[in-house]
């Protein structure tokens, strides 16, 4: 435990001393459905969610360096225990994975060509992009906690 902590500390130091050119800020927001057809849904910052709630993950990628970053491939995982809401990715993701290792173009299909259960999808990846210095891109995806 002590060793692990020292390793984590070291990692933190390592990250400081070799500043990454890309900063990623991830937020988890609870989606509160619209109360009436006229009103809009709301996103609430929350640290709690009950089974059945919908969580929107927003990842903001920022190029903090002074030069262009090439071939940036963003990836947002869907933690185990959450079920991806199909079609909630914005902008549209390029590929998905059930093991975070092998990624295939969306929609993911099983061996017989049927769409895979969304609960099996563990990560989404977006198309490779270049980020100019200072440029920011925001990616979103939603998932629900199963009841």
């Amino acid at each position: 435990m002590k060793l692990l902590r020292s390793i984590l500390l070291f990692l933190a130091f390592w990250n400081l001393s070799y500043a990454e050119p890309v900063a990623i800020k991830l937020a988890a927001l609870k989606v509160v459905a619209a109360a009436s057809p006229e009103s809009a849904e709301k996103l609430m910052e929350t640290e709690d969610a009950a089974p059945g709630d919908v969580i929107e993950y927003q990842a903001v990628y920022t190029n903090t360096s002074s030069s262009i970053v090439r071939n940036l491939v963003p990836e947002i995982p869907i933690p185990a225990g959450l079920v991806l809401l199909t079609g909630s990715d914005s902008p549209k993701a390029a590929s998905g994975s059930v093991d975070r290792n092998t990624f295939s173009p969306l929609p993911l299909l099983d061996a017989e060509g049927r769409p895979l259960a969304p609960g099996l999808i563990r990560a989404l990846r977006w198309p490779a992009m270049d980020l100019a210095a200072g440029q920011t891109v925001t990616l979103r995806v939603r998932a629900t906690i199963p009841r």
């Binding site: 991830l26 988890a28 969610a49 089974p51 995982p77 199963p146």
Partner: protein, 881 residues
């Protein structure tokens, strides 16, 4: 009777055993943190693909409530007797819950004294008679056992029935409509036998393999007549094995009931195991009179290797009373909790080699060798990896950082089913400046069961070899290419030998071609240095006067290679300047290319062989004048411009320097001689008496010879004969001849200077006149000087007048006049007889004169007379008397 969703139905259908754990797998426990961390890959400036991670966001799971209530019971009861309805309520929510319980009569016959009592030991009877209205706090998946007890009213009559509604509500019943469940118990009033059967277990829990576990089935006939053919059956549940010969009856407690026959009557009971029905114990008691009690027992062993679970066991009984078969009825259900045994096996991983700066992933297969679902904490232990290596644990996907799923602060695998495997991925990021080297490097990981922290296993992740930063400095071509010299990365060369030796002259530049190849796995840059002994510091270190300049392919002066991609090379010229005067021979020049970042460096040993240079010069041609009988001295500077000693005359490998003189007018008497300006004698730069004549060569006067760069001063003195005609020109040639081979280099050609001496007559005329002091007054000016003969008496004074006049075309220098007192006279130094000198002479001094009235010589020094100038000398003598 399930109150919750179909999913929960399915869960319950799998049995009580795995309830909690399965519920945990599908429905996250309340307060479970769900962490997420976005990431990205990108390509950096060196075309290396890098990973970057976001912050981690944690979402905590809120509590939901659900429960299950089992079971519906059907009982007989005589008027005035108690009836027992055993129930179990299970918390199917994801957090702790305290469930409220109620039992109400549903009629038509209502029980009196209807109460709920706890039944922790699940023997179907109240543990005590303190009524309860709720469970204790139940963890997710936990069950609570209780008995609903009531008294059949004495007024009830046979054949009447009644019911009891049992309701369980979760603690948030006000907000969650689904968290409730109901059982319906029924009873029938009878006046015949009522067999009350309860079942108990002596060991309610144990690990797989526990033996023996004894079940006791107790019966009491609470009815009003005998029960015959009282049959108790008990099917041995899966996961347990009947122990042969273990059945007993309380009436004959020391008699073993035989297993193998269902027809042998042993004192009123017939028992068999597996004969009447396979896998079932069957007891048939012939007669149980009213009011009689008894019990039967049997033992089982818990099978080894089975999952943690609850094994329920229910006895079934029937009998004949009042001529009618009655039953079957179930006893209460007795659970046996199979405890979990923790076990873990963690296999390490080995990677043969990796590059410095690489991220390498080790796959450690963790096997849950325990009997139940378990979560394993993974910790890192001691490491022999290079300092600066960082480690990070990842989940099986190799991409998600391993996090703490159970809140104990240690990253873990999450739940792993018994017998299942989990791939613990550990990534090691090797520092970019890791040196080349063979390990093995090892880091220990420990997997610790969270079910039983005493159970651990370790696995080592071993890296056999690190391909660290590396460089190979070669001459002429890149290492591995044709023509490359001195290959061997990281000072792996044999520096005992010189790789390339360049010949060079002093005061010249020689160029070495250096090729720096980055043999490491990553882009790197290297400082270039030269050193004369291979003990490199931070700057070039060459002998005094030597310089080095490194130039890249475009001719720019550099001190660093700039970034060289992995596997690429760059060529540089090292220009070494050899200062003049450097003595011949080979000198080591070590070159080094060393990365200031990774410290990877290579050294190559080259050499500069300085050529033997032989060069003697003599300077310079002079022009001078003298007069007949005069001499002139010319200065010559002899210089050794080579890089070896000349003229030491030390035998083989040395040389001689000899000098020859020749005068063009030697025929008319011109002569010359050479002197060596001995530094230790007199004035340096002027000919003095201590300077020796050069006769046989330089070594005779300067045994050490002439060192490189050294000079010697020579004087050539030329003598003009007295009879040299005016305007005669003599050329004196001094020739320096070097002889002898040094370092196979032949002597340089002889060198000569020519001194040209012109003879210029002074044309000095001297007129000597006399006069007699006829009036004896001592005054010469009243007398007449003549050149003719005069007559005088003894005692008279004779005055002499000598007029020296330059009638020539050039200055007459160094004029001195010698005279003497004639015979028979003495010097008369009084009055005008005193020796005197007047005129234009630059000195005009009476240098020597005799004493008064003495004889002797005079010396008059006039000095220089320009053309037409003159000086006049006078003195007097007295004729002896």
């Amino acid at each position: 009777m399930k109150s919750s969703t179909s999913k929960l139905l399915a869960l319950v259908a799998l049995g009580l055993a795995g309830l909690g754990l399965l519920a945990r797998a599908a429905l996250p426990l309340a307060n479970t943190p769900i962490g997420n961390q976005a990431k990205a890959t990108y390509t950096d400036n060196s075309n290396v693909v890098r990973e970057v991670f976001s912050n981690t966001v944690i979402t905590r799971v809120l509590q939901v409530y659900a429960l299950d209530l089992e079971q519906n019971n059907s009982r007989l009861g005589t008027p005035g007797s108690q009836v027992y309805f055993p129930h179990t309520v299970t918390n199917l929510g994801n957090g702790n819950d305290t469930i409220s319980l109620s039992a109400t009569n549903a009629g038509p016959v209502n029980l009196t004294n209807l109460n709920i009592y706890p039944d922790a030991n699940q023997d179907g009877l109240p543990d005590n008679y303190t009524p309860i209205t709720s469970t204790s706090s139940l963890a997710p998946g936990a069950g609570f056992h209780f008995v609903v007890v009531g008294i059949v009213p004495p007024s009830a009559t046979a054949g009447q029935t009644g019911g009891v509604t049992v309701v369980a509500n979760s603690s948030d019943i006000a907000t969650t409509t689904s968290a409730t469940d109901t059982n319906n118990d029924t009873f029938t009033v009878t006046n015949n036998a009522v067999m009350q059967v309860t079942k108990a277990i002596d060991t309610p829990a144990g690990i797989p393999g526990t033996t023996p576990v004894k079940y006791t089935i107790t019966y009491t006939n609470t009815g009003n007549s005998a029960a015959t053919n009282f049959t108790i059956t008990d099917t041995i549940p899966a996961g347990m094995t009947y122990r042969a010969g273990s059945a007993r009856w309380s009436v004959i407690p020391s008699t073993t009931l035989t297993d193998a026959s269902n027809s042998d009557n042993q004192s009123g009971i017939i028992f068999d195991f597996g004969v009447t029905t396979a896998g079932r114990a069957t007891y048939v008691v012939a007669n149980v009179p009213a009011g009689e009690s008894g019990f039967v027992t049997f033992e089982v062993s818990v099978n080894t290797g089975i999952a943690p679970q609850i094994i329920p066991n229910t006895a079934v009984y029937n009998f004949i009373t009042g001529g009618s078969p009655t039953g079957p009825f179930n006893s209460n259900t007795v659970p046996f909790q199979v405890l979990q045994v923790a076990g873990v096996n963690l296999d390490g991983d080995t990677i043969a080699n990796a590059n410095a700066g690489d991220t390498i992933a080790f796959n450690n297969v963790l096997t849950n060798t325990g009997t139940g679902v378990d979560t394993f904490d993974i910790t890192l232990g001691s490491s022999t990896y290079p300092v600066g290596t960082t480690f990070q644990l990842f989940q099986s996907d190799g991409a998600t950082p391993m996090t703490d799923s159970n809140g104990n602060g240690v990253p873990d695998t999450g739940p792993v089913a018994a017998g299942a495997t989990y791939n613990v991925v550990m990534k090691a990021v090797l520092p970019g400046n890791a040196v080349n080297g063979s390990g093995p490097f090892s880091v220990t990981k420990t997997a610790r069961s969270t079910f039983n922290p005493a159970v651990t296993d370790t696995g080592d992740d071993v890296l056999t070899l690190i391909n660290g930063a590396s460089v190979d400095l070669t001459n002429n071509a890149a290492a591995g290419n044709p023509g490359a010299l001195g290959a061997g990365a990281n000072s792996g060369d044999n520096n005992a030998t010189r790789i390339v030796t360049n010949n060079a002259n002093p005061a010249a530049t020689t160029t070495f071609t250096l090729v720096v190849k980055n043999t490491g796995p990553n882009p790197d840059s290297f400082n270039l240095l030269a050193d004369d002994d291979g003990t490199f510091g931070s700057v070039n270190d060459l002998p005094v006067g030597w310089t080095v300049v490194f130039k890249n392919a475009s001719g720019t002066v550099v001190s660093n290679t700039g970034v060289i991609a992995a596997g690429a090379s760059a060529t540089f010229n090292a220009e070494i300047f050899v200062p003049s005067g450097t003595t011949p021979g080979a000198r080591d020049i070590y070159f080094q290319s060393r990365s200031p970042v990774t410290l990877a460096g290579d050294i190559i040993r080259d050499a500069v062989s300085v050529n033997t240079i032989r060069s003697i010069t003599i300077q310079t041609d002079n022009v001078g004048q003298t007069f007949p009988g005069g001499s002139v001295v010319y200065e010559h500077i002899l210089t050794n411009n080579g890089n070896v000693v000349e003229g030491s005359n030390g035998g083989a490998g040395t040389s001689t320097l000899t000098f020859a003189l020749a005068d063009t007018l030697s025929g008319i008497g011109f002569t010359s001689v050479t002197y060596y300006d001995l530094p230790s004698s007199g004035t340096v730069g002027a000919l003095d008496a201590g300077d020796p004549v050069l006769v046989s060569g330089l070594a005779a006067v300067k045994p050490a010879g002439l060192a490189p760069g050294e000079q010697a001063r020579l004087f050539v003195k030329v003598f003009a004969p007295l009879g040299a005609p005016d305007g005669a020109v003599n050329a004196t040639t001094i020739t320096v001849t070097t002889a002898g081979v040094i370092n196979t280099i032949a002597a340089p050609a002889a060198q000569a200077n020519s001194d040209t001496t012109s003879v210029i007559r002074g044309d000095l005329t001297i007129l000597k006149e006399q006069a007699i002091d006829t009036d004896n007054d001592g005054d010469k000016d009243d007398e007449t000087f003549v050149t003719t003969q005069l007559a005088a008496k003894p005692g008279q004074v004779i005055f002499y007048r000598i007029t020296v006049r330059n009638d020539g075309s050039a200055n007459a220098t160094g004029i001195t006049v010698n005279d003497s007192v004639p015979s028979n006279t003495t010097y008369e130094s009084n009055l005008d007889g005193a020796a005197a000198i007047t005129g234009s002479g630059t000195v005009n001094t009476v240098t020597t004169a005799p004493a008064d009235e003495a004889s002797g010589a005079f010396l008059f020094t006039i000095g220089t007379l320009a053309p037409t100038q003159s000086s006049v000398i006078t003195f007097g003598v007295q004729i002896d008397q």
